[in-house]
């Protein structure tokens, strides 16, 4: 277990109080609203949450791939260097050799008019101009073969490959530049279950054999359990719980994590559970704790004060009043919150 990187204390990626708000013409959408986390070298952090919780925005925010309508605030430190406020050009030069990325739909990221080999040639020429032709070729071919792409097919075009092959090509293309951080946004969502498992196997090998830190963004708790050292759970633009994946899954400290695990239908499921209500709008999220309207354990304080991040007994960071700090809870704050029941129609 390398909870904080491979021993060398300094995290490779350190995000502090990051905020990404989108302009809409009206009120802004607070897609990411004060998020902090860090990843050590060689570590895999899983970022989970339901659709619309801001997890993809967070990934794009780290990579500087946000649309013009987004405003960014806070700090993203990569290997000691501040990335927020860096120019588009500098950011562009860092994507690839420093910060790798893998997306859900690889086809949209590959140029249909270029062969696979040409993609690699171009990436290496751009970011590793010092390499000679032979070395470029050797590295690309090794990277592709390492991902199980048949060597006879390197001169083919992206459309000639299946979905799983394309995703392998994307991974190879990201890894050939040997980035220190790899951000994978739902890398297996478009794939079938067996191919998904193959890709997860590849990611697990990466974790074992390379020093690359991975931020794995997914909605699938199973994938986190499979592939991640640590997990951060996002709800409505905030990280509500973060810690060692085994600990969090075994003993979820935040009620949202707990309920999400309970409502996930897996092979072990014997009864249906669900979280009442629906994920909130990020334009006007509930006050104080954003989960309190849906939370089965809500207390009076939860509707009045924003929770303070504390260490849960199992070691994870959690933002929930259930875990204190006791000194900050006003008198009577621990009483059960009286709420209106959700109408059935509001559920889902």
């Amino acid at each position: 277990m390398n909870a904080n990187g491979n021993g060398n204390g300094e995290p490779i990626l350190d995000v502090h109080d990051l905020r990404v708000w989108y302009g809409t013409g009206g009120e802004p959408v607070r897609a990411v609203d004060g998020v902090s986390f860090s990843i050590g070298a060689g570590e895999t952090l899983g970022l989970v949450g339901e659709s619309g919780c801001g997890k993809s925005t967070l990934g794009r925010g780290v990579l500087g791939l946000l649309p013009d309508a987004a405003a960014v605030d806070g700090s993203v430190r990569f290997a000691g260097r501040e990335l927020v406020g860096v120019s588009q050009k500098e950011m562009h030069d860092m994507r690839g050799p420093e910060l790798g990325l893998i997306f859900q739909e690889p086809m949209t990221r590959l140029d249909p008019l270029q062969t696979i080999e040409a993609h690699f040639r171009e990436a290496l020429h751009t970011h590793r101009p010092e390499l000679d032709k032979e070395e470029v070729r050797r590295r690309s071919l090794e990277a592709l073969a390492g991902m199980g792409i048949p060597r006879t097919r390197f001169a083919q075009y992206p459309h000639e490959f299946s979905g799983g092959m394309r995703q392998r090509i994307m991974i190879a293309l990201a890894l050939v530049l040997e980035p220190k951080v790899l951000i994978a946004d739902e890398p297996t969502t478009a794939l079938d279950v067996i191919v998904e498992a193959q890709i997860l196997g590849i990611l697990a090998d990466l974790r074992r054999n390379f020093d690359t830190a991975i931020l794995l963004i997914t909605h699938n708790l199973g994938i986190v359990a499979e592939a991640c050292d640590r997990v951060a759970v996002m709800y409505a633009g905030e990280i509500v719980e973060e810690g060692d994946a085994r600990e969090v899954f075994a003993e979820p400290a935040h009620p949202y994590t707990r309920e999400l695990l309970r409502s996930t239908i897996s092979l072990e499921t014997t009864g249906l559970n669900y979280i009442p209500g629906a994920p909130p709008s990020l334009i006007n999220p509930p006050p104080a704790c954003r989960f309190h309207p849906r939370c089965p354990s809500a207390m009076r304080v939860c509707a009045e004060l924003h929770p303070i991040e504390v260490r849960a007994p199992a070691g994870q960071r959690v933002s929930c009043w259930l875990h204190g700090p006791e000194s900050e809870i006003p008198p009577g704050g621990r009483e059960e919150l009286e709420r209106r029941q959700f109408l059935e129609a509001e559920e889902a």
């Binding site: 902090s36 006007n284 924003h306 009577g332 709420r339």
Partner: protein, 333 residues
């Protein structure tokens, strides 16, 4: 329910902002001005469109603007102001008829062709493409010529000639749109629920296709004004005895220009330019407002959120920074 549906249609127009709003409303203003001229022509025009004399005697020939003829008179002794005003009536009439005719022919054909597909679709597309490829003014002249025996050279003939030019456009736009809508799940869902074919076409496809029609119709109207004027200019349009028509007046004014008589050509020309501009602005404005893709781009303008002082530090207690909820989330007593 009716009211809601209407407001759904008008909503985007009301919500439009910035340049597209400006374009839309200037278009509306110009077109409305000409529509008023057209409707109230008998009241607004000092003389009839073919009037060459009044109680005071015959009008002067090529008389310069003065008190009795504010915009002067033409070589045929017509009053230019009256001809421009009555010309607006002709233009609006022809364009209105042409648009209605093209919609009545083009939209159903496009719906049928797009939904049915197969051989009928191929044949129709071929015919329409052939019409489309034909030089439009020549097409209009041929139709006008063919119809002049039966219908005379009046407003109806001009409208039908112009219709023939624009039907292929409506057909194309509607057909292509139908082909994409036809593949939508909701059309399949309606089929699976047992909806008869005509219901699918009218309730599920047409409703989602018609949005593209108003903008197209308005832009075509602008074009139709030019076609009408061109027909008149070439002498294949409306007979001068039937109605006043700007294109015809322009043609008659050609010789005047060399002789320094500017008013006979300038005012009908300006009228054409103004009305075409009006329809174009209106069409572009509608396009911006109704077409959701363009709309999305315009609303995604950067909008920097304010940054409240003293960020959320780890472990820092936070007062509820959010505005109170609009919903009725009950709080503890």
């Amino acid at each position: 329910m009716r009211q809601r549906r209407l407001s759904r249609w008008l909503g985007p127009i009301r919500e439009s902002t910035g340049v597209s709003r400006w374009i839309l409303w200037s278009g509306v203003a110009i077109v409305a001005f000409f529509v008023v001229l057209a409707i109230f022509a008998p009241l607004l025009a000092p003389y009839g469109f073919d009037q060459v004399s009044d109680a005071a005697g015959r009008f002067p020939k090529q008389g310069s603007p003065d008190g009795t003829h504010p915009l002067g008179t033409t070589v045929g002794s017509y009053d230019v102001l009256s001809r421009v005003i009555w010309g607006a009536r002709t233009a609006i009439e022809v364009v209105l008829l042409a648009v209605v005719f093209s919609l009545v022919v083009g939209v159903p054909l496009g719906l049928f062709s797009g939904y049915t597909g197969g051989r009928a679709d191929r044949v129709l597309v071929l015919i329409m493409d052939a019409l489309f490829a034909f030089p439009y003014i020549l097409l209009a002249i041929v139709i006008a010529f063919l119809l002049s025996d039966k219908l005379g050279q009046g407003v109806i003939t001009a409208a039908v000639a112009i219709t023939a030019v624009y039907v292929p456009q409506y057909f194309r736009v509607v057909r292509n749109h139908v082909i994409s809508v036809r593949e939508e799940s909701y059309v399949d869902a309606a089929r699976a629920l047992g909806a008869p074919r005509r219901t699918i076409i009218s309730r599920y496809i047409l409703q989602n296709v018609v949005q593209s029609v108003p903008a197209l119709a308005t832009l075509n109207a602008a074009d139709a004004i030019l076609t009408l004027a061109a027909l008149g200019f070439l002498g294949y349009g409306i007979q001068p005895t039937d109605a006043a028509e700007w294109g015809y007046d322009l043609q008659r004014a050609i010789d005047d220009a060399g002789a320094g008589i500017w008013w006979t050509g300038l005012f009908p020309g300006l009228a054409i330019v103004a009305l075409v501009t009006g329809f174009t602005l209106l069409g572009e404005g509608l396009n911006d407002v109704i077409n959701p893709l363009i709309r999305a781009r315009s609303t995604a303008k950067p909008d920097i959120p304010e940054r409240p002082g003293g960020g959320i530090g780890e472990g820092a207690a936070l007062p509820p920074a959010d505005p109170p909820p609009s919903s009725d989330d009950a709080r503890g007593p």
